[in-house]
Symmetry: C2
Subunit: 243 residues, 2 copies
């Protein structure tokens, strides 16, 4: 048996957002590797080994998947959303550094619906023009760089999507991000807090920048910030194509 | 019959990248509205009216869809990629301005795999850290604003995805974008030209900024520019999680 690794995006939560390519890869797999809550979204079946791991062990998880494939297993590494957006694909390639044997394996990345696209669709079309996606976690980069990127994005009048806006370990940083936005953007700038998008827990909350508060976000939230042109029409929020 | 409008993303081309939610909406529709090449991707069937229109008539097309829904039709407006990323969703909400009757209709946006995510997956994980998506067309915005956003994105060391990089009507502007990048980025910065992603015509070309040329792009190309940290491992290109 020839082994392979597929890094697959399961989308934000709903089965209706899992692509047929990802479903086919899961059907052909012998092993599924990933962070436990994502592995739990895969239907168990005979002949399929499920390897659930903790958060923040991405490199070890990637190496595990590559070792399995090198032994002839057909491995799907599952990510939430899209594997290439703040998820497992980068970790897999990082784990291949200095390992020419692993670089020769059959490896494919299957895209998925990333949280910001599902959140935008639920709200209307707030990312309808130029936008930036920024991971607010300072787990692997200095927080000053986060703030600098937010500042530049506001300076360019981009719409923005913030991933991992807030966690228990850093409850205060998102407040600093809101402060930076307030120095560059008008008080009535639209901000969308999209929590648990496409799941039964989904909550979409639209507020203005002057009323946005850090406690409106948690780790299940993606935050979308409109450009200066973003506006409401009826119950929808959209950014005009001419922004 | 109660009418509705669904704005659906068909993904970049492959059937395996069309979500089940989008397939279900098409199965329930009475009418499909869209730019002719996208409507051509929908399988004809009895009871389904296909309304193909030209490029650059987005507002008229959106109004057509809303009028049909107001008459009780079940309408899917098809976009390539994701409808919320440089596509039809914004035009639909724009068409609702000043029309409270249309704002009361049942309207939903169904996300899709946008070109940059499929292109990134085909190349590895070049959008693996903070990135910007910029529409290079100056059809609806001044080209100076395009250049300014590219400059700011480079200044923030974002990875970048460029949509609509080049057309026959503006063959020279993409050269100016490359020039701006060259003032801010090192000559060996990785640039990916991804053409017709996920279709039989797919071509992925990875070059360095100093060898990138405007004629490498056309209207079927999405261009990805790495951050300063983006690197190659084996045949893949990825941006480390720590960028």
């Amino acid at each position: 048996m020839k082994g392979w690794v597929v890094v697959a995006g399961l989308g934000p939560g709903a089965d209706g957002l899992v692509t047929p390519d990802v479903a086919a890869a899961l059907a052909a797999a012998t092993d599924v590797v990933g962070y436990a809550p994502y592995v739990a979204r895969v239907l168990p079946r005979a002949g399929l080994a499920l390897h659930a791991s903790d958060n923040r062990v991405e490199l070890a998880r990637a190496a595990h998947a590559l070792r399995l494939a090198a032994r002839g297993r057909r491995v799907v590494v599952v990510s939430s959303g899209d594997p290439g957006v703040f998820a497992m694909a980068s970790a897999l390639f990082e784990a291949m550094e200095g390992r020419p044997d692993w670089q020769r394996l059959e490896v494919r990345v299957l895209p998925g619906i990333t949280a910001m696209l599902a959140a935008a669709a639920a709200a209307g079309a707030p990312l309808g023009h130029d936008f930036c996606a920024i991971n607010l976690s300072d787990n692997l980069k200095p927080f000053d760089l986060v703030l600098r990127r937010v500042w530049l994005a506001a300076e360019g009048d981009f719409a923005m999507a913030f991933y991992n806006p807030r966690s228990r370990a850093r409850p205060d940083q998102f407040r600093q991000v809101l402060e930076v936005l307030r120095t560059r953007c008008e008080p009535d700038r639209l901000v969308i807090f999209a929590r648990a998008v496409s799941t039964p827990d989904q909550e979409i909350r639209v507020v203005t920048l002057d009323t946005a508060r850090e406690e409106m976000a948690d780790m299940r939230t993606v935050v979308l910030v409109g450009s200066s042109r973003t506006r409401a029409v009826g119950r929808f929020v959209y950014t005009p194509r001419s922004a």
